[in-house]
Symmetry: C2
Subunit: 460 residues, 2 copies
């Protein structure tokens, strides 16, 4: 008989004469006449309770079942008289697969997040991390459903790249050369012998390639890993993280903002609907205000706030910020959080940022001092989405590339997109891990990535 | 008025008084009283025909519209008297956005695949590549739908890794060190100053981490980029490609094979249903036998063939293979294709391969000379899926690691999975590009990846 998942069985509407489950023992306790075993198979947060009676031929073995042991159980699923569960299994057979030894690290007690990070291979077996990674999976599927149902095409933009999209450093370099003996020519690395014949990096964004795709297919999105070799050990930064980047032809900044808002609301609504049990765990144990805060995001239109007005609000706030605020200053997390958490108490979309602090590809506004950029800022997280209308005018683009010292030769193909049927187009990037942090209340990015990569950390 | 997509309009059931589309001119021609413009917006293969009459105030401009120019059109959608299309738009306004210059490379004529690779940023604007990348998107979504609807969780396994899963070379190395001046200690690279404090590579598979996830969450899958620094310029190899890797707890080799077969059939059926027009293009212009071959895959159960029987068949074939066949020889593409194309004329799953040619993590069979490995072999492609039941017995795993010189210290966490509630489990890997090649009949992997990476090629 094929085993059923705990999730399927718990959703059953009637008792079932014979069922079979396979999973891992969470706890076991003896009552007067029985042994109660809680089995989890990872399909959902809940365990299924199994009742083993002393008539079972291996009852002595069952009584010694330890936390983490693997078992298969056959029996009848019947209504449970116990609290907090609808069904339980009265076992006709309990087959022990492997006993977990006493040193199994996940004994029933509270573990710190720090400790659990050292056993990333085991932590999804805990309630909290099992829930986090099930939510991650649901949100990932939600991203695809959102775009596919709206006629967007998924584009796999390259991870290995010869260019640096943002014109900013902090790139990982990729090579097939032997680092012990790098060939040199005139005191510099001789890349002619390397795999690509020139330097190669890990991508920081698929945007530029997504633009090429959007100007052919209309609406597209990417969803893949991106990389930053930023040597900062914070709760918000990882060296490897996933980004969602839609790119839309014939779409201006305001339509772009509307899409970003719809997208965030869709994903939160989707998680609330499809991960109710897992989310409740976070609302109960991780952040008591979680549900209320998600509700605020869902229930109101996001504020639209020109950057210049944001600066005014921040200046008049009376707050003592670590970083000065003035026209031309990039907003820091402290500013963003003040706007979303204290001033508006809801998500805010700041737009029309100063040209001087933004990359070459953002469309220059008529005032010539701002660009059609937008950031979606949410309580607790700060910036969760950054986007812009792209500069579609060839001469303005060329001037901006020159101004910001971006190589026109490297990006010949990107410039081509402005020569051959250029159109208004826009897009944004969503940091997928920040979304999971927003939805779960988890405050450290290391705890929403199955095997996080940060400075010095590449185990597993 | 918001523009509609060509795809949506072409699916309309009734005429529409006022519609608006934005897109690119594919062709334009003059008739006696009108100008006919074919507009494509990437949403589907078909163009929408626009009729511009001389009454339009910018008619002289319209008459000069070139291929590749961007336009917006408003008008009435009415039944088309012309052949091959149900609807056309009688324009009330045609707004020129940008005229494409004469040197626009995609003039209406046949281009070679080789030439189109040099303009990867423009080729999705052609019928063939637009269709290929729409199919790629549909198949990608199909992968997620298949697994999510079956209760699998999507796991983002790491791209940056300190270990080499297969124990085989050909890895790209990742570093934040300056290659011009690599720090050394005792004549070797000193990694203490590097980002992770030790050597880091790009992953060749997410399997080992997926196993950790499966032993917590039950059924999981990965879908992400993988990398090989293999310096071979063939039609079948790219340095960067996407892999799908499901991993299932409580699943043996035979259940694994059944899942692989169901999966392939689901994806092909999905493409036939959701990409009918795009697939017809390939059946018409790329591979005339395509539909028949896809039908063969869908209509029969895949053959199950022990490796040893495959060797016998190949030996008795009378064929003059380039590579010898004997027990212990790895099957080459020529052998695989003989089995699937000539002998069985349908997909074949070869299983129980010799232990000596397979990696340490595959489960050793009772005969101690084979392992519970399986490859799904399809006509035209050869191997499209490789998988196995994993070695779940700690002592056997340790012995195999020693035998194959895989570092037990590096994989301490993988060994842990066999100490703490080990269970029978299995999984496989599907090369996503090979799937697209199978479904479209495209024979070069460079033509199913938007921006392919191969030796010397990292433009765009």
């Amino acid at each position: 008989m094929m085993p059923s998942s705990v999730k399927t069985l718990l959703a059953a509407e009637t008792a079932l004469k014979t069922v079979c489950i396979s999973g891992w023992v969470r706890t076991r306790r003896d009552a007067k006449a029985f042994s109660f075993i809680e089995i989890n198979d990872g399909s959902c947060l809940a365990n299924l309770q199994v009742i083993a009676d002393p008539e079972l031929e291996n009852y002595e073995q069952i009584r010694k079942l330890t936390t983490g042991s693997s078992v298969s159980v056959t029996g009848a699923m019947q209504e449970s008289p116990g609290k907090g569960q609808k069904w339980e299994i009265l076992a006709t057979a309990v087959t022990l697969i492997q006993t977990a030894p006493e040193e199994y690290p996940l004994q029933k007690k509270r573990h710190t997040d720090e400790f659990l990070r050292t056993i990333s291979h085991l932590r999804p077996r805990t309630n909290k991390y099992g829930a986090a990674f099930r939510i991650r999976s649901t949100l990932s599927y939600g991203v695809h459903r959102f775009f596919q149902e709206r006629g967007f095409f998924h584009v796999h933009t390259p991870i290995l790249t010869g260019s640096d999209c943002e014109g900013a450093g902090e790139l990982f370099q990729v090579t097939a050369l032997n680092l012990d003996q790098v060939p040199q020519k005139d005191g510099k690395t001789d890349y002619t012998a390397d795999f690509f014949g020139k330097p190669a990096n890990l991508t920081v964004s698929g945007q530029l390639e997504a633009e090429a795709a959007a100007l052919a297919l209309g609406n597209v999105y990417t969803f893949g890993p991106t990389f930053r070799a930023e040597n900062s050990n914070t709760r918000r930064h990882a060296a490897e993280f996933w980004m969602v980047e839609p790119e839309m032809a014939f779409c201006d900044l305001f339509q772009n903002m509307a899409m970003a808002e719809t997208f965030i609301k869709f994903l939160i609504g989707d998680a609330l609907k499809n991960c109710a049990d897992d989310l409740n765990l976070f609302a109960k144990f991780v952040d008591k205000r979680l549900m209320q805060e998600l509700d605020v995001i869902l229930s109101k239109p996001f504020v639209r706030l020109p950057y210049e007005d944001a600066v005014t609000i921040l200046k008049q706030s009376g707050r003592n910020f670590s970083y000065d605020v003035f026209f031309g200053a990039d907003l820091q997390t402290e500013h963003e959080r003040f706007l979303a958490e204290d001033h508006f108490k809801q998500p805010v979309i700041v737009y029309n940022y100063p040209k001087s602090i933004k990359p070459f590809y953002m469309r220059v506004n008529d005032d010539d001092r701002t660009v059609a950029a937008m950031d979606v800022i949410v309580p607790r997280i700060g910036e969760i989405i950054g986007g812009s209308q792209r500069e579609e005018r060839p001469t303005v683009l060329d001037a901006r590339m020159k101004e910001t010292r971006v190589s026109a030769a490297d990006l010949w193909w990107y410039r081509d997109l402005r020569r051959y049927g250029s159109v208004v187009h826009s897009g944004f990037g969503l940091g997928f891990e920040r979304l999971i942090m927003l939805v779960t209340g988890i405050t450290n990015i290391r705890d929403v990535i199955p095997f996080p990569r940060t400075p010095g950390a590449i185990d597993f």
